[in-house]
């Protein structure tokens, strides 16, 4: 029960007025970016990151993670009231949420969404509390080959399990890994891929790339759309909240199932998007009257929201325990940690106990505060959408530029951000996924270091990745996942041949 004591200590660290205030600010900013079209979790965190540079690490990470929670909550508001999913993982919420709003049950749908988000996150945070210390103490025994195998597993699972065309995922990932290597080589001190440019000596900063890829490109993409919208405004009364909560126990199967799916998909880099759809589809499949889905059924809101938030939260588990982010936003939080010289991974639990448990405690508190905050302030946030996009767009551009410049005080970074904005716009339109790129860029140097250290240790023998049971099984699993689509096809082909009568 060491974890429990440390967690209580974490709460004690947090319960100051200053931290609570920062939490509120973070949540409000987060909901704000979640509601606004053209911004979302990763962009919001990336743009607001510079604000936290001058804080101490604990306050900063509390604020950042609250921005993250806020963005998760905010996405639900627009999908229910306006049928516009603020985030890709809110798409499944619109299926039943918007019909509910049309029937005048917006308040009910919103309460359901916020409550299930809360439950989903809570389950995931509980998982983090008890699993993360165990995984990290296990991972303390890892040497460079094991770490490289884990990185390999992450990359391979993106290629094998992703929905995009395989070669496009490979392009995105290798490009990210290559760009991570630009600049001074950390092992030999030699310059690489700088082509004599002094600006490139610093390397390509991860956050600058992210601000461009997500912030600027999102603005360009949003401008393509017709921005007119019509929807419902809703206030939530206490009576509605209580009546929804009274019905909650009826849906416990859905809630548990979705939390489980969410946690599972969040830890493996499958992401919140897949989780929300899977939660919705399973709830539909197991329901007695499937036809009522899509027409304003409250379960259709519970299922995807619980799953999306459980996975959004549990994506932080591998980040904290192993230093491998489970989602794009987690990758950016990881980039933030590195700015303060904190190296996420198993050592974090040993060297910065206060920080880790402060962060975990802030997940509990942030969720409670967030739930209360969104339930009381929904009408205000819904009216943000009245602000014309022509006013919002230039402000976002300015915030992006401030963010990009503040990281290294370099004008070059503003131009770099602009370049990445164009790259992100084009990549998104032709279906090259950005998440593998983000992940590769943030993990590139560590993956390379792990690889080189294991090579140096073994004298250049590739067999080091199969030298013991642990590293061998991780490496083998990685290779299986890489070729999973082929294996899957072969397996289903084989079963079809064995049982031809059934087809």
């Amino acid at each position: 029960m060491e974890a429990f004591g440390l967690l209580l200590h974490g709460f004690a660290v947090l319960l100051t007025w200053k931290t609570l205030l920062l939490m509120m600010v973070g949540l409000v900013l987060g909901i704000f970016v979640g509601v606004l079209p053209g911004l979302g979790g990763p962009n919001g965190v990336a743009i607001l990151l510079p604000l936290t540079f001058t804080m101490d690490p604990t306050s900063a990470i509390v604020m950042l993670s609250c921005i993250y929670w806020g963005a998760l909550f905010g996405g639900a508001i627009t999908s229910i009231l306006f049928n516009i999913p603020g985030e890709a993982w809110s798409v499944a919420t619109t299926f039943d949420g918007y019909p509910m709003a049309q029937q005048g049950r917006a308040a009910e749908a919103l309460t359901a969404a916020f409550t299930s988000s809360f439950i989903g996150s809570l389950v995931a945070v509980l998982l983090i509390t008890f699993l993360a210390p165990m995984i990290s103490s296990f991972a303390l025994k890892f040497g460079p080959p094991e770490f490289f195998a884990v990185y390999l597993l992450t990359f391979c699972s993106f290629v094998g399990l992703g929905r995009e065309a395989k070669h496009k995922t490979v392009i995105s990932m290798s490009l990210g890994l290559l760009l991570a290597g630009v600049g001074m080589d950390t092992v030999s001190g030699q310059l690489r891929m700088t082509f004599g440019s002094t600006e490139l000596l610093r390397g390509i900063n991860f956050l600058v790339a992210v601000i461009g890829l997500f912030g600027i490109s999102e603005i360009l993409l949003t401008m393509e759309e017709r921005l007119a919208l019509r929807g419902h405004a809703a206030g939530i009364s206490l009576r509605v909240v209580l009546s929804v909560w009274r019905d909650l126990p009826k849906y416990w199967v859905t809630l548990v199932r979705s939390s489980f799916i969410g946690c599972w998909l969040g830890i493996t880099p499958g992401g919140a998007i897949a989780a929300s759809f899977m939660g919705y589809n399973l709830a539909k499949r197991f329901a007695k009257d499937q036809d009522s889905f899509g027409k304003g059924r409250i379960e259709g809101v519970f299922a995807p929201e619980t799953a999306a938030h459980a996975s959004g939260t549990s994506a932080l588990l591998p980040m904290l325990a192993l230093g491998i982010p489970g989602s794009g936003t987690a990758a950016i939080l990881l980039g933030g940690l590195m700015v303060w010289g904190l190296n996420p991974g198993p050592l974090l639990f040993v060297e910065h106990k206060d920080f880790v448990w402060g962060l975990i405690a802030s997940m509990y508190l942030g969720n409670v505060v967030g739930l209360v905050l969104v339930l009381t302030t929904v009408p205000i946030f819904a009216s943000i959408l009245r602000v014309p996009f022509a006013a919002v767009a230039p402000m976002i551009v300015v915030s992006c530029a401030i963010g990009a410049y503040a990281i290294q005080n370099a004008m070059f970074d503003i131009w770099l951000m602009l370049g990445f904005g164009v790259v992100g716009y084009v990549f998104k339109k032709i279906g090259i996924p950005l998440a593998p790129f983000t992940l590769a860029l943030v993990l590139g140097n560590r993956a390379e270091d792990a690889f080189r250290l294991s090579m140096i240790g073994s004298g250049g023998d590739m067999k080091v990745f199969w030298s013991n049971g642990l590293v061998g099984s991780i490496t083998t699993l990685a290779i299986i996942l890489l070729f999973w689509p082929l294996i899957d096809k072969a397996l289903s082909g084989a079963t079809r041949r064995l049982r031809p009568a059934k087809a």
Binding site: P50, F53, T54, G104, R105, A106, A165, H167, K168, V170, I171, S174, L175, L177, L178, Q190, L191, R192, M193, I219, L220, M223, E224, R226, L227, A228, R230, G231, H232, A233, S237, A382, S383, L385, R386, P388, A390, A391, A393, P394, M395, V397, V398, A401, I402, Y405, A406, N409, M411, L418, G421, V422, V426, K429, I430, I432, F451, R452, I456, G460
Partner: protein
């Protein structure tokens, strides 16, 4: 029915028309991007080869890891090139219509000008110009509203970053004249 139900309606007068002709197809863009990535892979691969991509006494040379990545990138883009050329599906997909491109440029060109202005006039003056200009000329919002919003936003940024949080932004002649 809940009685708090009020409709929120926002119009978009400058929205791109739906029937605007396509500028180019996804196939063309995909082909160009694949070629560009291939060229990048070759350039980076060559540079890493020059740095040293072999083994020496202490282990892999600095160029080793990125060199093989360049090969992976090159291979994937070569595959992508052929996939794009022979893809019927992408040929029928519109990359961008003329009306959409006009709107995208309406935000992209001001952004480029903003970056240029930041270099010479400092970030705050540039941001004031961008916000007020964009609201007035692209959003067709009343001049006083545009100027006021731009001023308040820029001032708020200045107070937050330069004064409260000590995050120093690039400055130009105006700030110098004011003594900052």
């Amino acid at each position: 029915m809940s009685n708090t139900d009020i409709e929120i309606v926002v119009d978009d007068p400058t929205a791109p028309e739906a029937n605007s002709p396509a500028v180019t197809s996804n196939r063309v863009v995909d082909t160009v991007v694949s070629l560009a990535l291939l060229a990048l892979a070759i350039t980076l691969g060559w540079d890493n080869w020059r740095t040293g991509a072999a083994w020496d006494a202490t282990g892999p040379e600095p160029g080793y890891f990125p060199f093989y990545l360049s090969i992976i990138l090159g291979g994937a883009s070569l595959y992508g090139l052929f996939a794009a050329i022979f893809s019927r599906k992408e040929a029928s997909e519109t990359f961008v219509t003329q009306a959409q491109l006009r709107r995208v440029m309406a935000v992209f060109v001001p952004t480029v000008l903003f970056c240029l202005a930041t270099q010479f006039l400092g970030l705050y003056v540039a941001s004031f110009l961008l916000i007020s200009g964009f609201m007035r000329f692209v959003g067709k919002i009343a001049a006083w509203k545009s100027l006021l919003t731009a001023f308040i936003f820029t001032a708020a940024m200045f107070v937050t970053f330069d004064i409260a949080f000590d995050v120093i932004m690039p400055k130009g002649p105006l700030e110098a004249a004011l003594g900052y």
